[in-house]
Amino acid sequence: MGIWIELFSFQFMQRALLAGTIVGILCPTVGVFLVLKRLSMVGDTIAHVSLAGVLGGLLLRLDPILAALITAVVTAFGIEKVRRVFCDYAELALAIFTSVGLGLAVILFNVVKSSDTSVQSLLFGSIVSVTGRDIWVIWILGLTVLTVVLKFYREFFYLTFDEDGASLAGINTKLFNYLLLLMTASIVAVGMPIIGALLISSLFVLPVAASLVVSHDFKSTLIIANMVSIFSVYTGIILSYFYDVAPGGAIIVVMVGIMILMYLVKSFVFNNLKKARAGEGEGDEREDCSGYS
């Protein structure tokens, strides 16, 4: 018991949990829409370009979060623009921007490396070095994004399910597509220094992937993804304290573990049900293959 009290008495731990809570909620909440719109890699692309932005910002002595935010937002708008130009090859936009981001980051990394050692933490994050100011920025932005998602939940859901139908229903699909990418960019910008440029996109995707294995409707997908994410973030941070490992990496490993566990449990339950039905001479119901393909 004493070890837990000691754990939560550290200020850096309290900050890590506060920051982790909001990032853990934000990423899967927006991630559900991205994954189901087949834009799983957009967080990764924005993170790569933002990394170059932060490095450029360090050279220009700009605040890293501000530099990341500006770059991420510009990238998000650029992706949507290019996605419309190459509408039949939508994923091409992500490939183009990832290449540009990585290219610039490699060049800038060599320039900045000698003068700033904190660059390393940008790649893998440092949730335990979160400052009080970081907490404020993340929570204000996080609450803003959550308010937007709750207010326009129906619009985002419709846009994700059937963009043409949403347009005919009077939803400004162009505006909501930009809004979705803007929210993604903002989350990447504030989450990147904590989770790391190489890992932040996993928080958008992995909890949703785990949730898709067991969810039965859209609302439950959103709720389960959030539960998986929050549990993984807390467990990852605690494990990193006890075993002295990188928190970002620990969070991701926990997430993947939960996803595999959910898949195995569902397969086991599904197979047993199938056997039981076959025994009763039933089984005319169509299989639900979601999460298995």
């Binding site: 347009s167 005919l168 009077g170 898709l212 169509r286 639900d288 293959c289 979601s290 999460g291």
Partner: protein, 224 residues
């Protein structure tokens, strides 16, 4: 006669092309059951898109409930069932009731004291799928999915229903069920139906059959 949708001298061409619709005149009145046929590529879907306001004609007018299409805001009065039943991923994690309620127009939500549960039950009863409410859409057959999409269009209590090849990719029994359902909606509820189809069974029950060939519209059958 109560005209709901009217096209006056409408001509349309895609950028850089020739007119694919020329001086089209069309009236859909209350209680109509119209089938639009024509060879593949004869711009039948384009005609629907012009009515739905997603395309603008280069000449002529599209009048919806007495208003020009560009000024029309009461889109909930027009129900639309798209040609593509495979426009979404069948593994999409959404239940039948979520998909139906998604289409509930915002102004209709504000105007009526909406009771989602009751309204969803009502439209699913209408299309004969009351027990499928909590099913995941991926678990439905093609015919059931098409009925759910019709229920989705009916959630706003539209006055006219536009359908684009609703029986395509359905087996014979599902085609017949759907045809009977559309006749019932038209005769029992007075819902006007305007449909693009090649289905002979549906053509047989239509009050009017129009044919679109080489950009021109002609009437092949009329019982009125």
């Amino acid at each position: 006669m109560n005209t709901m949708i009217e096209l006056k001298e409408v001509s349309f061409h895609y950028p850089g092309g020739n007119n694919i619709l020329e001086n089209i005149n069309l009236k859909i009145v209350r209680g109509d059951y119209i089938v639009l046929t024509g060879p593949n590529g004869s711009a039948k879907t384009t005609l629907l898109k012009l009515i739905l306001g997603s395309l603008k004609p280069q000449a002529g007018e599209v009048i919806l409930f007495g208003q020009e299409a560009h000024a029309f805001r009461d889109w909930f009065k027009i129900g639309y069932v798209s040609q593509k039943t495979n426009f979404f991923n069948p593994s999409f994690p959404a239940s039948v009731q979520e998909i139906i309620w998604l289409n509930k127009a915002k102004n209709a939500l504000v105007a009526s004291k909406s009771d989602p549960q009751k309204e969803i039950e009502e439209v699913l009863d209408l299309v004969g799928l009351p027990e499928k409410r909590f099913k995941k859409i991926g678990q439905l057959s093609g015919g059931e999915l098409q009925r759910v999409l019709i229920a989705r269009a009916l959630i706003n209590c539209p006055e006219v229903l536009l359908l684009d090849e609703p029986t395509a990719n359905l087996d014979k029994s599902a085609q017949e069920n759907l045809s009977n359902l559309l006749v019932k909606l038209n005769s029992d509820l007075g819902l006007s139906v305007f449909m693009v189809t090649h289905d002979e069974k549906i053509k047989g029950s239509a009050k009017k059959i129009l044919e679109l060939t080489e950009g021109k519209l002609s009437c092949k059958k009329s019982t009125s």
